[in-house]
Amino acid sequence: MLVALLAAVSFPGLRLAGPTDSDLVDRFTHGDRRAFDEIVRRYQDRVYTLCRRWLDDAQGAEETAQDVFIALYRSLPGFRGESQLSTWVFKVTLNHCKNHRLYRNRRGYRRHETIDGPPAPGEQDLPGRQIADEVASSDSRVHRNEAESLITAALAQLDEEHRQILLLRDVEDLPYEEIGEILDLPRGTVKSRIHRARAELAAILARKIGREDI
């Protein structure tokens, strides 16, 4: 333990944390299914976030996120490691989100309203846990729900290009280079598109809640 601590202090680059993504992929392709569990643990929140923010539908987002992991499970043995695993995961996730959205549109999703009228943005299809949570709402939870509604509504007003690049940069916290790889865009385009997307988001939020409240 002491040796490990000293090594970490002496050699900051030395890796003492868990296995890298490529270690996990390697183990998985050699038949270790537990390695895939670890990959799921690492990426489930980020994949779910991307799906949820893209689709604005909790149930559809979970279904899509699971589809993403199933697709990864099937295709990981063919992963050649030419890019980072995260790049691949997010690329697959975006593809699935777009497909799910198209599929949903074709099926006339939300074409029929409930007897109570259309749900407010950010309130659709809440899973059981969230509904139960809301029963015992506190001030902070109210604020969080307001912020949630605001983000959902603001993202919904962005066009697809701007929404996806903002999610990758400011929600998933990916560097420009990786975003460029995921979207097949040169770095300069990524940079300028992020700038335009952020400016648009800022304008939308400002209109919604007033500049001083952001």
Binding site: H30, Q66, N95, H96, N99, L102
Partner: protein
């Protein structure tokens, strides 16, 4: 020389990301201090980014991993060794297929050369052609051996062969004959009478939606283009078709033999599934990668359970 407001405004986002060189960053800072309007814009941008960063990320719902495990339980365990062995096996299959094709071509050419001339009199135009075999008129011997018509095809307008052909003409030969006034029906094989031959016809995506149920070469009412991410999309498709109680054929209507696709490869296949499984097929395709829908209009009504054709263009 200091940076003007316009350039500073275009660099606000990169400045907030810490992506500017030190000199430029200092100039942006100075511009923000100097220009109140720019400062307000900067604060608004920073506020929006912080708001999104602090409220954007979410947690996967409780039980997400458990539900995923249930779905994964039916998946076969992954194995790099199996993938490698499969690749080696496919390599040999490829070599064997090429060898078999070469043998067939050589055999066909020899058979053509040895065929005796028919007893029936050839047409005037056909007699003018240098071909020794009148049933497939050709401008030259090579074209004839390959079943391809040359210019004018050797048939004069209005002339028709007096005897039935000894072997079937190709689709292009039939079309050429029709153009030259030949009784097309006499030469038209059954599979063409129901619709035009459509090998590789998916690529333009501009065909009509008229459909003949069970006709192999008529345009399929459901057509998709899949940009697959998996290692072996054709294998996946075969499994999907089997799972949905269907079957899968290649562009020529032969049962599909899968092979590993390289990046940039594409293949046109057709899946026949019971009508109630078409939507499930579409959902399974989405699991394979990005799906572009070319057509989803059935064109005709299918009885529940009828086998319907779905054309799929697979890109790797």
């Amino acid at each position: 020389m200091s940076m003007d407001t316009f350039f500073a405004r275009n660099r606000l986002s990169a400045y907030l990301d810490g992506d500017l060189p030190t000199g430029e960053a200092r100039e942006v800072e100075a511009a923000i201090q100097r220009d109140p309007e720019l400062r307000a814009e900067f604060e608004q941008l920073r506020g929006a980014i912080e708001f999104l960063r602090s409220n954007g990320p979410m947690l996967a719902p409780d039980g997400f991993a458990n539900r995923l495990h249930i779905r994964l339980a039916v998946e076969p365990p992954p194995s790099r060794l199996r993938v490698a062995l499969r690749r080696v096996r496919y390599d040999y299959i490829g070599i064997a297929a090429v060898a078999a094709m070469a043998l067939i071509v050589v055999g066909t050419q020899q058979q053509t050369a040895n065929e005796p001339a028919p007893d029936t009199a050839p047409t005037v135009a056909a007699a003018q052609a240098p071909s020794p075999v009148p049933d497939l008129p050709a401008a030259d011997g090579n074209a004839q051996a390959n079943g391809v018509l040359g210019d004018e095809g050797g048939f004069a307008a209005g002339a028709a062969p007096k005897s039935a052909p000894s072997r079937k003409p190709t689709a292009s030969a039939s079309r050429q004959m029709a153009d030259n006034g030949v009784d097309r029906e006499a030469f038209q094989p059954d599979w063409e009478r129901d619709g035009e031959a459509k090998e590789g016809a998916l690529s333009d995506g501009s065909q009509t939606q008229s459909v003949q149920v069970g006709t192999l070469y008529s345009p399929a009412p459901w057509r998709y283009r899949v940009h697959a991410v998996g290692a072996n999309p054709l294998k996946e498709l075969i499994t999907v078709a089997a799972t949905l109680g269907g079957r899968i054929v290649d562009a020529k209507g032969r049962p599909l033999a899968d092979y590993p696709m390289d990046e940039g490869d594409s293949a046109a296949v057709r899946v026949f599934v019971p009508s109630y499984n078409v939507e499930e097929l579409q959902r399974r395709l989405m699991l394979m990668g990005t799906v572009d829908t070319i057509a989803t209009d059935p064109g005709v009504l299918y009885q529940n359970g009828t086998e319907v054709p779905v054309s799929i263009e697979v890109h790797k």
